[in-house]
């Protein structure tokens, strides 16, 4: 019976996403291909000094992305440093330097790793004017990069790939802001709070005292999910009843996290002029999603481990209103996208269950991945897949009419090496530098033994892949983690962006080659299988050894 409810829940989600796929995907394609500016946009371009008709080379596009992100980084940093004098700061002091850097890097990089507990660190002004603004703009940047890459496939002998400022503006004004306005009202109906009340002390029914928090939560909760950001208004994130009051708001938040990433393949298919190419990408994403969700749910239902077996189930760190199914669905969605929000505590999952969110992130967050980043990550893997396919049959690989030459393969290879390098290096350094190791073991690690290694591995996996979820027992507000994870988030976000834009420029500059009998069709089940295989094998070979030291060792002991 329970399994029936679980299947029905996933079926509802799938139905909603299916209904959204065409209209939302086509709408996004129109946003980024339209030659007309809205009136508000024209005003905005005038104020910031941009000519929307002028396109950019990939280098110029990249400079725009980086300039905008550096300004955002400084802005969020400064806001935190002057918190004491900002209005609605709840009497909270300035955020310390190291933590301010980490948080600024985190929100600009669309990661939303939180070394801090928001309840006692961030006032309302920093949350709405600093963090939530980055929730919008970092998401719009991600989609812009994906669109730029798709333009690389659609253009012939072109020196330009679009205009970053136009893509950024349209993503915000035509997509994220209107959807957020609607979504925020839906969340309000469900019981998510939206006020500036601060803490209210009340006398409980049995005569005790309790502080009830306030805050502009609904406006932030919606874009946190829609933009696959994940940073909670409260420490408990989407398990906090004021962020996620009931089972249907939880399902709605799943929809918010998945609607853009799962509809972008349609946008891609429309822009390259072949919807079947979009369906192939969608099939890869959907297959991996369902498989991963199934494994996590089975592990948690099984409830292996000393504590879950003693308690009679894996309910430590889970809310009664969600139970196991709504928790594993949210956890899978959150880590298969780049969101990193949680409605249950991943640190308390069963050993093998806790491995699944890690594995989801290690896949590179491509099923369906973050807004934009999921699509460009998957397209890079598709390039690797046609290359592998080309090697097997001895043909020059092509994808969507573009030759995949040495330059493209070098860029794609570098792309898939970046995050594993950061993850493994960061984890290794945490234990290899004696002074750091002492600090990590005495201050940061919460659970002793093997699980402690998993906490550190999870942290770097989450940071480098720009997810932001955590094995949250880890105390990350230390000089080492604030610095190392901050750097990991920035490198994990912006090195891949550099490579993807370079790839876009290189592809756009090529002419198209006609498909021949020797061309590997990239819209058939055969290619879907190949791409799934490439995605999993790359991850498995890279991460198996370290997983064997962490969650696998704990789960099999």
């Amino acid at each position: 019976m329970d399994v029936f409810f679980a299947v029905l829940q996933v079926a509802t989600l799938a139905l909603i996403l299916t209904l959204l796929y065409r209209p939302l995907g086509d709408y996004m394609a129109r946003i980024y291909t339209s030659s007309k500016d809205l009136k508000a946009e024209r005003g905005f371009y005038r104020v910031i000094g941009v000519d929307s008709r002028v396109e950019q080379t990939w280098q110029s596009y990249l400079r725009g992305v980086l300039a905008f992100s550096v300004v955002g980084l400084l802005f969020v940093y400064l806001l935190q440093r002057i918190q004491a004098v900002l209005p609605y700061s709840l009497g909270l002091p300035a955020v310390p330097e190291g933590l301010s850097f980490n948080t600024a890097a985190s929100f600009v990089a669309n990661t939303n790793w939180q070394s801090y507990s928001p309840d006692v660190t961030m006032g309302y002004t920093v949350q709405i004017a600093g963090l939530a603004v980055q929730n919008f703009v970092s998401a719009a940047v991600g989609i812009a990069i994906a669109i730029a890459l798709v333009r690389g496939f659609t253009r012939r002998e072109s020196t330009t790939i679009g205009n970053f400022w136009v893509d950024l503006t349209r993503g915000i004004l035509r997509l994220l802001l209107p959807l957020s306005m609607v979504g925020a009202v839906v969340l309000l109906v469900g019981g998510v709070i939206q006020n500036f009340n601060g803490f209210t002390e009340i006398t409980t029914l049995s005569g005790g005292l309790q502080n009830l928090p306030g805050g502009p939560v609904a406006s932030q909760e919606v874009i946190k999910n829609l933009g696959t950001n994940g940073g909670g208004f409260f420490n408990a994130n989407a398990s906090h009843p004021f962020e996620n009051p009931n089972a249907w708001t939880s399902l709605f938040q799943n929809v918010l996290m998945l609607m853009i990433p799962f509809s972008l393949p349609r946008t891609f298919g429309r822009m390259v002029g072949n919807h079947k190419q979009g369906y192939a990408i969608l099939a890869v994403m959907g297959t991996i999603f369902v498989a991963s969700l199934t494994f996590l749910t089975l592990f948690e239902l099984n409830g292996a481990g000393t504590a879950p077996e003693l308690a009679g189930g894996a309910m430590e760190g889970k809310e009664q209103r969600f139970g196991i199914f709504a928790s594993t669905l949210f956890g899978s969605t959150s880590t298969l996208t780049s969101t990193g929000a949680v409605n249950s505590m991943h640190d308390s999952y069963t050993s093998l269950g806790g491995m699944m969110p890690m594995l989801n992130m290690m896949l590179g967050e491509v099923a369906p991945g973050g807004v934009g980043s999921g699509l460009y990550g998957m397209l890079v893997l598709a390039i690797i897949a046609v290359f592998v396919g080309g090697l097997l049959v001895g043909r020059t690989p092509e994808y969507l009419g573009k030759k995949i030459g040495p330059k493209e393969i070098k860029l794609a290879s570098l792309y898939i090496l970046v995050t594993p390098t950061i993850v493994l290096l960061g984890t290794a350094l945490s234990f290899a530098i004696p002074a750091v190791r002492a600090d990590v073991e005495s201050t940061s690690i919460w659970n002793p033994g093997i699980h402690g290694l998993s906490e550190v591995l999870y942290a770097f996996t989450s940071a480098a892949n720009n997810n932001g979820s955590a094995f949250a027992g880890l105390t990350a507000n230390t000089p080492w983690f604030n610095t190392a994870l901050g750097v990991a988030m920035l490198l994990g976000r912006f090195i891949p962006i550099v490579l993807v834009l370079a790839l876009a420029g290189s592809l756009a500059a090529q002419d198209k080659v006609p498909a021949t009998a020797g061309t590997l069709p990239t819209h058939r089940p055969q290619f879907v299988g190949l791409l799934i295989g490439v995605t999993i094998i790359i991850t498995a070979l890279t991460y198996f050894p370290v997983l064997a030291l962490g969650p696998l060792a704990e789960g099999l002991q």
Partner: protein
């Protein structure tokens, strides 16, 4: 090629864009949502509070302790789940325990809870449902399972000199089915149940 008119540097464009976007997304947008919430949905926007005799006693969404000053559970109230938020149900410190499945502190805590709840309610330790033995994710879980609520009926009835049947009927009337019939799990809202309990006459 520059994207900007008359070669304005990217940083200058970025700075101006960030300022305008902060005003739109960081000030206007949250204020509009706050306005909608306060005007159209004030009960939800302000935290779904519950009142008794005109005084606010809590939020329907936020669990609360029913313990004495030393942290001992008060037998005359339905007890919530264990909480890792501060000293328990601290509304300013939402948190799970974050204990892993093999953590010896967690194993000891579950054993202790099992013994305490069994004695407190005079029941067999094996009959205690899992939600009663485990801390929630938020530490503010307002709900318990129907099983855990029913398990507390006898104790409450004895403590308040009420008929067991009346208390059981009260619990059963407070069982909330899954949302839309299939989402999430069945729940009992502890604060709402305790408010109704307070009004129940022998």
């Amino acid at each position: 090629m520059s994207s900007s008119r008359s070669g304005i540097p990217h940083y200058w464009v970025a700075l101006r864009a960030m300022l305008v976007l902060t005003v739109v997304l960081g000030v206007a947008y949250p204020l509009i949502i706050t306005g909608i919430g306060q005007l159209a949905l004030p009960a939800q926007a302000n935290g779904s509070t519950e009142t008794v005799d005109g005084g606010t006693v809590g939020s329907a969404l936020i669990g609360q302790s029913s313990s004495d000053a030393d942290g001992n559970p008060l037998p005359e109230w339905f007890q919530p789940r264990p909480s890792a938020a501060g000293e328990g149900y601290d509304g300013g410190a939402s948190s799970g325990s974050n204990y892993g499945p093999e953590n010896t502190d967690l194993i000891a805590a579950i054993e202790e809870r099992k013994a305490q709840i069994a004695e407190f309610n005079s029941v067999n330790p094996d009959d205690i449902p899992v939600d009663a033995l485990t801390a929630s994710a938020s530490g503010l879980d307002p709900h318990i399972s129907p099983e855990y609520a029913l398990l507390q009926v006898k104790r409450i009835a004895a403590e308040r000199n009420l008929a067991v049947e009346d208390v059981r009927a009260l619990v059963e009337s407070h069982i909330q089915a899954r949302e839309l019939g299939y989402l999430g799990e069945p729940t009992v809202n502890v604060l709402q149940l305790n408010i109704a309990l307070k009004a129940l006459k022998a």
